[in-house]
């Protein structure tokens, strides 16, 4: 796709792209290249000498049980966050899509959490479910649950999944609403006349017709769970207790910061890059085809 009507100028276009090109090269390509190069280097403990070690950093990572656990954990978190947030959002969107009074009010009241920053989400939820002073923890204890996410790894993971899913509901809700709005209402009416009851109508018509939206959101949610949960984890559990809430991004951060193992941290970055590129690639392929049904 190209414009037919254009301007002629030798230098102007370069001047116009120069600022963005400069910023992209300095702050994107240079560090990305550094990450790749560094992932092949090993620095000694005092940072005095570096040597080229081929794929050693990568091999070390893959033989490291902690790294493997972090991969599994990250995918588990992503999946749990995506599924719980998507299903709640879909239910709300279907309810809000019905013709009724107050439709736009409901929309306003449901979309604002998009604007809440991940660290704030973390603070809100840890406060609510703090073992000693959280207002909800009292009820959990009364219900006989020994609630202490600061000591129990599974509870900490649950807490992070809940908080992250909570934030993502509004985003998913908005896109589901848009997806529903793009299906002609008469299709649902035809299904009603064709004798499909509401539940069957949902599974045989609404759900298949929303499948492109669902797939798109699934990818977006997974990427979100990869990266944006960092702020939530860092304010709520800092990866703990133990390493039970350390995700891949959190590991890049903490290994680089605390361990000072730049080679390993760089190799982790490169693996993350590859994962994101694969995810984005999958998404582009499906967006290109647009219609998946």
């Amino acid at each position: 796709m190209q414009k037919q009507a254009i301007f002629q100028s030798k230098l102007l276009p370069y001047a116009l792209v120069a600022p963005q090109l400069a910023i992209v090269l300095i702050f994107f390509y240079w560090p990305a290249a550094q990450a790749v190069i560094q992932s092949f280097l090993l620095q000694d403990a005092f940072g005095l000498s570096t040597s080229f070690v081929w794929f050693d950093n990568y091999l070390d990572l893959f033989s490291d049980a902690a790294y493997f656990e972090a991969i599994v954990r990250t995918f588990f978190f992503s999946f749990a966050i995506a599924v719980s947030s998507l299903s709640v959002a879909l239910l709300l969107a279907i309810m809000a899509d019905k013709p009724m009074r107050g439709g736009s009010l409901y929309r306003t009241l449901l979309i604002w959490p998009y604007a809440v920053a991940p660290p704030v989400v973390g603070v809100l939820w840890i406060f609510m479910l703090h073992p000693s002073l959280g207002v909800l923890s009292r009820y959990l204890r009364e219900a006989g649950i020994d609630w202490n996410p600061l000591l129990d790894g599974n509870q900490a993971a649950t807490l992070i999944i809940l908080a992250a899913a909570w934030k993502q509901i509004s985003y998913n809700f908005l896109f589901f609403l848009a997806g529903l709005a793009s299906i002609p209402k008469s299709v649902f009416e035809a299904a009603a006349i064709d004798g499909a009851r509401p539940m069957r109508r949902f599974w045989t018509v609404t759900f298949p017709l929303l499948s492109p939206t669902i797939f798109f959101l699934l990818v977006v949610n997974i990427v979100y769970a990869f990266f944006d949960t960092f702020g939530i984890i860092d304010t709520m559990t800092r990866g703990g207790p133990g390493t039970s809430t350390v995700t891949l991004v959190y590991k890049v951060y903490s290994d680089g910061l605390l361990g000072g193992n730049l080679g390993s941290s760089a190799a982790q970055s490169v693996i993350l890059m590859v994962m994101v590129i694969v995810l984005t690639g999958i998404q582009f392929r499906f967006v290109e085809r647009k219609v998946t049904y």
Binding site: A32, Q38, V88, L109, P113, V123, S265
Partner: protein, 282 residues
């Protein structure tokens, strides 16, 4: 849609209100906590109704900060966040719109390679190249500076793609007409293209402002001085999960203050926000 009566309609309303309650509850708790006495909260005796300490808590939060060693007024943190968010939003829009203009309205050697160089940045968030970027910013002596906070976050292609897409839909006749009227490339850009892009720029601004305000990992790494902290970093430093001395009313007041600007933008500029969100994700 099939018009529904009675029972089923009430179910829909009920489910939506439950959803709203779930979404709003954590924030309600934060607002309530920010008006209460710390001792009460620390004992786990917090009331579910607002207390009477609203003014003193918010005064202390905004102008003084916590009583701990890293005391820093939250007002100053908000200013830092605001500057960073504005720099990111305005900077990204400015450099993107001119580069998109060059790519769409000119033919020049290396046009497509340049487009691809910019396009690829779409794929990778700052998190995956965090330490090398940190090193470069440090080498450029930009730690603890607004430029250091904003520039690496400007390096992405979303806005460029959006403007490119929009320019492609602008009819060719507009350029031909301006040319007949004697306008050069800069005149055309300034007098015709910019005014046409106003809604797109506004929608993009809303989204970029929210994203900028909510940045966390990057500011966490490159701000070492307390007076350069953004509010998102500041709030994290206020809570110490092991320390019982966390001043919860102030933390919660900070959380409320951190939410206020972006939530206000979403609610007040809902149309632009929805448009910006849907278009940047395409």
């Amino acid at each position: 849609m099939v018009e529904e009566e009675g029972f089923r309609r009430y179910v829909a309303h009920a489910i939506l209100w439950i959803g709203i309650a779930i979404v709003a509850f954590p924030v309600y708790i934060a607002i309530v906590a920010s008006t209460q006495d710390n001792a009460l909260i620390a004992n786990g005796q917090m009331s579910l109704l607002p207390g009477g300490h609203f003014f003193e808590v918010y005064y202390q939060t905004i102008f003084v900060g916590t009583s701990g060693s890293t005391r820093e007024p939250v007002g100053n943190m908000m200013l830092n966040s605001l500057v960073m968010a504005l720099l990111i939003a305005v900077g990204k829009i400015a450099i993107s719109i001119i580069s998109a203009y060059a790519i769409v309205y000119f033919r020049f050697p290396f046009r497509m390679p340049i487009f691809w160089i910019i396009f690829i940045t779409l794929m990778l968030p700052v998190e995956v190249r965090i330490y090398p970027t940190y090193k470069i910013v440090a080498d450029l002596h930009m730690l603890d500076s607004y430029a250091g906070l904003a520039l690496p976050l400007i390096a992405s292609a979303t806005a460029t793609l959006l403007f490119r897409q929009f320019f492609m839909t602008v009819p060719d006749e507009l350029l031909e007409a301006s040319r007949i009227d004697g306008a050069g490339p800069l005149r055309f850009f300034w007098d015709t293209l910019l005014p046409l892009s106003r809604t797109n720029m506004a929608a993009l601004f809303v989204i970029l402002f929210i994203l900028g305000w909510n940045q966390y990992l990057w500011p966490l790494l490159i701000t070492t001085r307390d007076d350069m902290q953004t509010i998102q970093v500041g709030i994290r430093k206020m809570i110490t999960t092991t320390d019982a001395l966390t001043e919860w009313p102030i933390v919660m007041a900070t959380a409320v203050l951190a939410m206020l600007p972006p939530v206000f933008v979403v609610v007040a500029m809902q149309k632009l926000f929805v448009r910006g969100l849907v278009e940047t994700e395409k």
